[in-house]
Subunit: 320 residues, 2 copies
Amino acid sequence: MNDYYLGLDAGGTSTRAVVVSSEGHCRGIGKAGSGNPTSAGVDAATAAIRDAVTQAVTTARSGPVAGAALAVAGAGSAGHRAAIVAALSGLVASEPVFDLDVLAAYFSGTAAPDGYVLLSGTGASAVRVEDGRLAGISDGLGWLLGDVGSGFWLGREAVRAGLAPLDGRGATTLLTGLLLDRLGIAVDDSRQSGRTTTLVTATAALYAMPPLRLADFAALVFTAAGSGDAVAAGILDRAAAGLAETLAAVRTPDVEGPLVAAGSVLARQPDFAARVAPGAVVATDGLAGAAVLALRHAGVLVDDAVYRRVTSSLAQLAGV
Amino acid sequence: MNDYYLGLDAGGTSTRAVVVSSEGHCRGIGKAGSGNPTSAGVDAATAAIRDAVTQAVTTARSGPVAGAALAVAGAGSAGHRAAIVAALSGLVASEPVFDLDVLAAYFSGTAAPDGYVLLSGTGASAVRVEDGRLAGISDGLGWLLGDVGSGFWLGREAVRAGLAPLDGRGATTLLTGLLLDRLGIAVDDSRQSGRTTTLVTATAALYAMPPLRLADFAALVFTAAGSGDAVAAGILDRAAAGLAETLAAVRTPDVEGPLVAAGSVLARQPDFAARVAPGAVVATDGLAGAAVLALRHAGVLVDDAVYRRVTSSLAQLAGV
């Protein structure tokens, strides 16, 4: 037994692990591919998680850590959780605790026990945090039923708006050319059962992907809108309105702030983040929050001094 | 060899077969479950197709028919088609011809070789027909990328709008209660990780379905709008605008009409059909069109007399 703890932030894009001391010194980090068992599959996800944790523990030379807090997107089922715990055998000396990935996002922006986080990554949600715990949540209902203003939502709108002119519908938009470039499809106006080969090839390529991968096209909306495209600007307007509504749903007069903006969409698009979450701290990295969750679950009081130690030691490790 | 021909109309809801003489007399019909190999699976679909065709051939006492035209939704791949042809061995004396289900829909409303069909069922598309063949098509790009104003599109909007108020977002709408009734979920305001049990149970039930089954909730939009619900009326406005744009994309001054409205949404909602396709013949049954396609492929000229014989003999058979 030692006084090192493991924080894990596993999402659809990457999995990151950190070993932190009880004083808040981050000693080792690790990184691997998607650790989301729902989107990546449970075998690939658990392998990525074990890989990232092994790297962090090895770098820290900590031996098996005393405890672990795991923020894993898409690990709601008991089966997924058991598989992840099994993958960490020998690396963690006690039973790991699962926590919400959105809380890791929150604590990556602030040490305050009360506040809000608005997240737009592949999915989208807003959470009110009280006493370090989830006190209210809105959206996060997933790609089919919710996630308004998320990367998936934006990517789906981009793809539908980009395809429509190839089909004789909708307004002309830069999204069409950006989409075809991204798919590596050249314009071919020959016809197959009434449709252009361009359209047939593009739709076949898109249906060959898992639906969630439409999130990869979210950036096209910002590119097109930045070039003055009205269709793309309209999509951003609707995304912004949706995210504002999601955030408003968790606001209460009793909790003033701070507000953290997180997730790949908001981290990569600071102007959009400032629009939907004015005054927010933009958290670009969920790892600091995972370290904070690990310390909180170990009973460590994470005050401003500890928090500064976490973020500065993490910055040093990442800079190496 | 005889002069009987098989028409088959296989969709996501049901599969129907008809045996028709070269003079246009329908002699036998058959019905089975979903024959769409993409949504129902290839084994279930081919079994349904063989079942429906066997019923039709048995009732007609025709023995193996001379030829067959198969309008099968979701049978674009060579593998699916080969499986369907194999399932019909012994029932059809020559190689069956595959045709577009939307053409069967068109010829269920008219015998005219030139015209238009607007279809909104599980999917949505518009087609211009010239000389009995597809000359132009718009939309029909599937649930993820297109199908604006389809049953899936309406059902998805109904479900998202119905869930939002349970999540503190969106306007109050009758869709919430209609959705919970349909799912058989009682209101339970206890909380699970910040969400009401009602919301958690409803989203779990919806994600347990294949995404396309959201089409089953399309009717809720009409029910709610009929009771004056503004949210539902807004969904219908957007669906109508989308379908009008899809139809406009295939219109050309060279082809005047007729216009056929088809698919489960338009067949069941005559007021909505009149709104999106003014003056259209509403085709409630694709079977007449499948018989016409079978005759056309056999080289039979389907004039008004033959067409009337097809529809009246079909009506008699269905009435038995």
